[in-house]
């Protein structure tokens, strides 16, 4: 329940600094103009990523309508393909987890992509009636893992087509699918309109206080790299923290189409890298971001515990990202295969990502003077 309060607090603070202009923000201890980063992030990364995602969601709704009105191999395949495209586009917006109503019980990312799906609860709902489906409240945080992309993956790829055609419960299955897609559409509509409405004020808030745009977005990035990227995609399925003892392939993202899990991971990895370097969503431009901010501040070099040498920030991050690249190259397209047969590769992937997390939380945070606004998670 803490997250409810915290989400509210985050939005109150974001709005307050936006509406009151810069009156309650403090000047940074350096002369770097953070609005340059904010402009690049919002205009070249966030808004284009949301545009692209919203387009995929729109296609998803079209595919869902076609499927529900005429369930067949053909309409199902189109729907499945659309879901995969939506999942890929999702990886580029997942880290910008702002914009839901202040009373929401979970964040956008939690409603959209909590996995594994709670199959027991979903199946229980599918065993009811169309009327019962209508009154399920997806607004409850406890139902975050009964909706969103993972639930849709289960409904389209983990359930036989005849559940939607000849089965006694086919109308209920269709109603549930429609409800899940409509929920994705409405949440996404809320969030994209938030970003479009607030883009100007977010970009202009160049302060360095804990409530400034930069600090909130940087913290969201850090939180995502830890929780959405490291934990959810790698650490949890591989049981990294128990030496693999608690591994479970069911925890792999997109479990019912796990052959896509590496593709989704690589999309997310690209988004993680792009934000750090300020590379635009279309990949065509390289603007101001964390890397150029650090270059401006010209900090001390960083010691690497493996090679026992010091490196500049840019060389150090190249080293750490190439460690991730090398390790990820060893992973199968289907992470469930790694978890079952080569779990050490997954655990090693966790380790190299954690190196990047620690780099962000120590070297970067200390250099640019951001206050981390969430307590750490040790993976529970």
């Amino acid at each position: 329940m803490k997250k409810i309060i915290s989400t509210v607090v985050v939005f109150m603070l974001l709005f307050s600094c936006v509406e009151e202009n810069d009156d309650n923000t403090t000047e940074g201890s350096d002369d770097f103009d953070r609005t340059l980063i904010l402009n690049n992030w919002v205009d070249n990364i966030i808004l284009p990523a949301y545009d692209a995602f919203e387009a995929e969601v729109s296609n998803l709704k079209t595919a869902e309508t076609a499927f529900v009105s005429s369930p067949s191999e053909a309409t199902l395949t189109t729907f499945q393909t659309s879901l995969f495209e939506t999942q890929k586009a999702w990886q580029h917006v997942a880290m910008f987890d702002l914009g839901l109503d202040v009373n929401a019980t979970a964040t956008y990312r939690e409603f959209m992509n909590s996995y594994p799906v709670d199959v027991t609860e979903v199946d229980a709902s599918l065993d009811t009636t169309v009327d019962d489906i209508a009154i399920i409240s997806f607004d409850l945080s406890i139902r975050a893992d009964e909706q969103g992309l993972p639930t849709l993956d289960y409904l389209l790829n983990g359930v036989d087509l005849d559940k939607y055609t000849t089965d006694d419960q086919s109308e209920v299955y269709s109603a549930y699918v429609t409800k899940v897609v409509d929920r994705i559409v409405s949440l996404t509509s809320d969030v994209t309109s938030y970003w479009n409405t607030n883009a100007v004020s977010i970009k202009s808030d160049g302060g360095s206080s804990a409530t400034s745009s930069f600090n909130i977005l940087f913290n969201d990035y850090l939180f995502y790299v830890e929780q959405g990227f490291r934990e959810a995609k790698i650490a949890t399925p591989s049981g990294s923290r128990t030496g693999g003892a608690s591994k479970d392939p069911m925890f792999v993202e997109s479990f019912y189409t796990s052959e896509n899990s590496k593709i989704l991971f690589l999309e997310a990895y690209e988004a993680v890298e792009n934000l750090y370097f300020g590379i635009s969503f279309d990949g065509n431009s390289d603007g101001e971001s964390i890397d150029s901010y650090i270059e401006f501040l010209n900090p001390d070099t960083i010691f690497d515990s493996v090679t026992l040498q010091n490196y500049s920030f840019s060389d150090f991050i190249s080293l750490k990202l190439s460690d991730i690249d090398e390790q990820v190259d060893l992973l199968n397209d289907d992470f469930t295969i790694d978890v079952e047969n080569n779990n050490d590769n997954m655990i090693d992937t966790f380790t190299v990502i954690q190196n990047y997390v620690v780099f962000l939380k120590t070297n970067v945070v200390q250099t640019i003077g951001v206050t981390i606004d969430f307590a750490d998670s040790d993976g529970d």
Partner: protein, 406 residues
């Protein structure tokens, strides 16, 4: 999912109140009387090389081949502990651990062995042969008892040694993995003890107060047939127990200098240890012994954090699994086995404030007893784990939260 953004509120207030103290925020404790970090060392009078390379007349003065040999021996013995087909014999272990004969890597056979250097520092055991022998026997027992575990065809369960999960894990009847006890225990009993309590006590003389090695170093009198002074060599032997193998081959201190870099508040240990070693060695060349001794303080302080921080980390992992109703408690036993070894290693730490280990042998024995009593890990409670964690934290200058922050 575990979100704790609630702390944002506190953070904002804290930021508002404490902005003026930010320079000190990285230090756990500034009011101490010894050098904690390499930057605390006044090294203005020594010339520090970029890498750990020292020469005299164009030839290296560094030699830690004996340490490299022993670290490799540890690895071969440790690997043998998981060989289920064929199951090793007592001779297979004794030959290697005690005699240093019949290693598969023949270069490891010879006069240097692991057992004689286990729990045998002048600092802790010169006048305490009984404890030294008792420690050696602990490691003997890990090896001997592992034979029965490897021979078992049972699934590990309460009171029954055997395998668990498809990794597989080899648990004794109480859930302990002897290989973890062996490796993590030797981090303290071999590598830390030799480095921090043996060679650092034999820099000026052979722990006899004569200052004979210092006299030789002042005169640049070299050891017989060698290119180094005894003081230089003893420093390098301390260094060799940490850096004697490549980073990716080591299973003792260096492995954990890397692993602990992934714990945010211990991220700087690796740099402090390496740079203090480099400064201290340069100080010996420059005959600047105050600088050297500050480097010793930094290394002892920093390395001594490793077994405590890792023990806490693994105990907390195990507690999380115990508390999760959906997981098998045996999932926690690997972490508990890691913790067992790191707790064992606590008796070989060195607290520069007291000149003693952070935990005496008797205190460590009592903590180990908590892990072993009754059915061992099978009837360990989360309260037991909390007690152990709190006891470890209480001896150090970091908080539980700092220890666990990722």
């Amino acid at each position: 999912m575990n979100i704790r953004k609630i702390s944002l509120v506190a953070t904002i207030f804290a930021t508002a109140i404490f902005t003026s103290c930010s320079d000190d925020s990285d230090d756990f404790n500034d009011s101490v009387d010894f050098a904690q970090e390499f930057t605390d060392i006044d090294d203005s009078v020594v010339t520090e090389p970029a890498t750990y390379e020292f020469e005299r007349d164009g030839n290296t003065t560094i030699d830690f081949s004996g340490q490299t040999t022993r670290l490799k021996q540890v690895n071969e013995i440790g690997a043998l502990m998981l060989s289920a087909n064929p199951v090793p014999t007592q001779d297979d272990f004794t030959n290697r651990f005690n005699q240093a004969v019949s290693f598969t890597d023949e270069s490891l056979n010879g006069s240097k062995n692991v057992r004689s250097k286990t729990g045998s520092s002048v600092g802790l055991f010169q006048s305490n042969a009984a404890d030294s022998e008792s420690i050696k026997e602990d490691f003997d027992s890990y090896l001997t008892n592992q034979i029965a575990v490897l021979s078992s065809t049972n699934e590990a369960s309460v009171g029954v040694a055997g395998t668990y999960s498809d990794t597989p894990r080899y648990f004794n009847a109480q859930g302990l993995e002897y290989q973890q006890a062996f490796y993590k225990g030797l981090i303290g009993a071999l590598a830390m003890d030799q480095s921090l309590n043996h060679y650092f006590n034999r820099l000026d003389d052979n722990f006899d107060g004569t200052l004979s090695y210092r006299t030789e170093n002042d005169a640049e009198t070299l050891a017989t047939d060698e290119n180094y002074t005894t003081m230089e060599h003893h420093w390098d032997e301390a260094y060799g127990y940490v850096y004697g193998l490549d980073a990716d081959e080591d299973n003792l201190i260096q492995k954990y200098l890397n692993d602990i870099a992934n714990q945010v508040n211990f991220n700087d240990i690796a740099e402090n240890v390496f740079k203090a070693f480099k400064i201290g060695r340069a100080a010996i060349v420059a005959q600047e012994y105050e600088v050297r001794d500050e480097a010793v303080e930094v290394i002892r302080y920093q390395i001594s954090k490793i077994p405590s921080a890792r023990a806490i980390y693994y105990l907390d992992d195990a507690k999380t699994i115990f508390e999760d109703e959906t997981t098998d408690n045996r999932d926690a036993f690997h972490s508990l086995s890691e913790a067992y070894g790191f707790i064992y290693s606590l008796q070989f730490t060195y607290n520069p404030s007291t000149g003693e280990p952070y935990f005496a042998k008797a205190e460590v024995d009592a903590m180990i007893a908590v892990l072993e009593e009754g059915d061992g890990f099978y009837d360990l409670s989360t309260d037991d784990i909390d007690d152990l964690i709190n006891q470890i934290v209480s001896a150090y200058d970091f908080t539980l939260e700092q220890a666990l922050e990722q």
